[in-house]
């Protein structure tokens, strides 16, 4: 039973524009949310996270928004760069438990 869902398997965006990656979750007990980025043949790397007590967290070009009532979070990348092309995984956890990952969204940033 998939508790974290990324409904868009892929996304294509032009360089310089905004990329918006979406994630939905079903478990209201989740209290911490993360985004990971993965290049082919490499392990995922942590990108940004947000606690359930916040609705926004920003780190440079990356911003994560959390809407708890809708059980939805999104990752915004502004401006998008070709080096951002990768698979992005959304993850969520409740305290004391392992992370639950979504299936990933493949982002392609075109020049």
């Amino acid at each position: 039973d998939q508790q974290v869902k990324q409904n868009s398997p892929s996304l294509s965006v032009q360089e310089g524009r905004i990329s918006i990656l979406n994630c939905d979750y079903t478990n209201s007990m989740f209290d911490y949310f993360l985004w990971y980025k993965k290049y082919p043949a490499e392990g995922p790397t942590f990108l940004i996270s947000i606690s359930s007590i916040k609705d926004k967290n920003e780190d440079g070009r990356f911003t994560v928004f959390l809407n708890k009532s809708a059980k939805h979070l999104s990752l915004h990348i502004v401006p998008s760069q070709p080096g951002d092309s990768a698979v992005y995984f959304c993850a969520a956890r409740k305290s004391g438990y392992a992370l639950n990952f979504g299936k990933g969204t493949s982002l392609l940033v075109t020049p």
């Binding site: 043949a41 490499e42 392990g43 995922p44 996270s49 990952f101």
Partner: protein
């Protein structure tokens, strides 16, 4: 910097062979995890460990076992490899239940 290393980047084994995948982390993290990544299925948790000699089943433990004799080392064992275990295997570690740090992955092919 946290470093998680995996014993092999690429591995080819035959059906029925016993396979050992080794993972070592150098940051004294309590928790360690094994995932497999398959196209369209995202990251699926096989097993995790929150302490030496402790292990918990993840979402897909069938056909796998694990060993954690020392804090820094977490091994994944395929008792009798099968072709449906061809996959990318990712090890991760984390301090408590915070963000996980991943190794580079092992691409296992079972013929």
């Amino acid at each position: 910097d946290v470093k998680v290393t995996q014993s092999s980047r690429y591995l080819v084994k035959r059906t029925g062979e016993k396979v050992f995948l080794e993972c070592v982390q150098d940051m004294d993290h309590e928790n360690m995890f094994w995932y497999r990544q398959d196209p369209g299925l995202g990251l699926r948790l096989i097993y995790f460990s929150y302490d030496v000699k402790m292990k918990e089943k993840g979402d897909i433990p069938e056909g796998y076992s694990v060993s954690r004799e020392k804090k820094e080392r977490f091994s994944l064992i395929l008792e009798s490899a099968s072709t449906n275990q061809t996959s990318m295997y990712l090890c991760a570690s984390s301090p408590r239940w915070n963000e996980q740090f991943f190794g580079p992955g092992t691409r296992l092919t079972v013929l």
